[in-house]
Amino acid sequence: MPQYAILIYERETPNGVADLPPEVLEAHMRVPERVEELGGKILNAHATQPTSTATTIRGDVITDGPFIESKEAMAGFFVVEARDLDHAVAIGRLVPIVSGGVEVRPLLAG
């Protein structure tokens, strides 16, 4: 089955995950189970530390902060196996978002 990266973008808040409303956090916890119900398979999943901890390398220069500065930043990602794009998009829709969005990106076939 084809694989897709589900990239999660959220508005950054001072305390990161701790600022998420409890019902959103709970919805996040339920994502794996619901992906399975949809017939998808999560291969791996990661949440990232806030962009204030990121380091960017451009050529020889190293700077503090993320590669792209924006209000919404990548907060995490997971890789799923899905039947096709519609299936992957249905899985992406399961991710609760407060203020931001989700990008579905097909992976190069190995």
Binding site: P2, R83, D84, L85, D86, V89, P106
Partner: protein, 416 residues
């Protein structure tokens, strides 16, 4: 072989191109599992047909003949390139068990798979339109580029990019399931409607209407209606296009100048198209809560069946606009509603609505907003302000016929 014979065969092939292209391509994609390869094979099949039909006579079922020829070419190509192709992602098709699952769906024509794939919401709208014209209608890339005023290279690049996405992101070659259908069908109807409106008032150039686009849009809607006879909004769209298009010949005068609805020669409207559209509206309205296209068609039908502009059932038009605004809250609908409001409650009341739309800001840059405002001001005798609004509308208008109309009105307002 005589010249007349060759010409006759050419005509039959051209006719089969127009009628059968979608059918042949859609079936070939199933075998080729790649849009580009399928397209090449179908193109080839039409070329071979020119020769073969001239020699052996025209087959009884040209569509089936062409499909067999194109599929055979696809299979040959696949065999030749088997090793190479096994490394490329092929178009995703539901496997056999899923096909069985889908068989309760009323619709399994391959052409529907093709239309829904071309109009997939994960593709940019302009790519959806280009793919639909190329793959469903068989229009050449060059002709599509000319219709949308971009270079052939730009249009070709746009289509290549979209086809690559279909393949790399695995947009499935299938008809949406029942739960997905409402959204997906709306995307298809939007593409066809946009195609129609682009042809109905060409974005630029001297001619108001681009007949080729208008007719492709009508053909597509008729095809969709044949494939999905129970969808009320498909009926609604067909009705809308028929009734609107019935007025085509009267929208400009002999010199190509714009003639407003108010002054069009109603006796020259295509009565048969209006009647067909009217019946479709009645059917669509009967099948439950009307959608956007059905309501627009109902409004267009009221205009088309009215004896004159003044004798139009404006209160009913206004009621339909209220309903339309509810199911499709768009500022463009609010603007059109203001025109009906002016007829029911006078231009001053309507002007208030227009000013509210100006404050709203979403229609900034939309030429019909200042044009409508100018007309209301003109009717209120506020010539100075009307002239200013006509100038604002002119700044936003590129179509030659529309510009001439606005310039004439501006001259009147300046004189007034």
């Amino acid at each position: 072989m005589t010249q007349a014979h060759t010409t006759a065969v050419q005509r039959v092939v051209a006719d089969a191109h127009r009628r059968e292209w979608a059918f042949v391509l859609a079936a070939t994609v199933r075998v080729a599992r790649d849009l580009d390869l399928a397209e090449e094979c179908v193109q080839d099949a039409y070329l071979v047909a020119l020769d073969a039909w001239a020699r052996e006579g025209v087959p009884r079922n040209p569509g089936a003949w062409l499909t067999t020829a194109a599929k055979r070419k696809a299979l040959d190509a696949l065999r030749r390139e088997q090793l190479f192709r096994s490394k490329l992602p092929l178009l995703v098709e539901p496997d056999v068990t899923e096909v069985d699952d889908l068989s309760d769906d009323a619709v399994q024509d391959d052409r529907l798979r093709l239309i829904f794939t071309c109009c997939h919401p994960a593709l940019a709208r302009e790519a959806q339109i280009a793919l639909t014209l190329r793959l469903v209608c068989g229009v050449s890339t060059g002709d599509i580029a000319r219709a949308f005023l971009v270079s052939e290279a730009t249009m070709a690049a746009r289509m290549t990019r979209a086809k690559k996405k279909i393949s790399a992101a695995r947009i499935a070659y299938r008809v949406p399931t029942a739960s997905e259908l409402p959204d997906r069908l709306e995307a298809v109807l939007n593409v066809i409607h946009l195609l129609y409106t682009t042809g109905h008032t060409a974005p630029s150039g001297d001619r108001l209407v681009r007949v080729d686009l208008v007719e492709r849009a009508l053909d597509l809607t008729r095809m969709l209606r044949a494939l999905m006879p129970d969808e009320p909004e498909v009926r609604g769209l067909l009705a809308l296009l028929l009734v609107t298009d019935a007025r085509r010949s009267t929208r400009t005068d002999a010199d190509g100048r714009l003639v407003l609805l108010e002054e069009q020669n109603r006796s020259a409207w295509d009565r048969a198209a209006i009647e067909e559209g009217h019946l479709l509206v009645v059917e669509a309205l009967r099948s439950g809560r009307p959608g956007r296209f059905t309501l627009q068609a109902a409004i267009a039908a009221l205009h088309a069946t009215a004896p004159s502009y003044a004798e139009t059932d404006w209160p009913q038009v206004l009621t339909l606009y209220d309903e339309l605004l509810r199911v499709w809250p768009s500022p463009v609908v609010a603007l059109n509603r203001a025109v009906a409001l002016a007829m029911v409650r006078g231009p001053a009341v309507a002007l208030g609505e227009i000013e509210e739309l100006e404050r709203d800001g979403r229609l900034a840059g939309y030429r019909y907003l200042p044009a409508t405002k100018a007309d209301l001001l003109r009717r209120l005798g506020r010539h100075h302000e009307a002239a200013r609004a006509y100038r604002a509308a002119l700044d936003l208008t590129d179509n030659g016929a529309e510009r001439t109309f606005l310039e004439d009105r501006l001259a009147e307002a300046d004189a007034g």
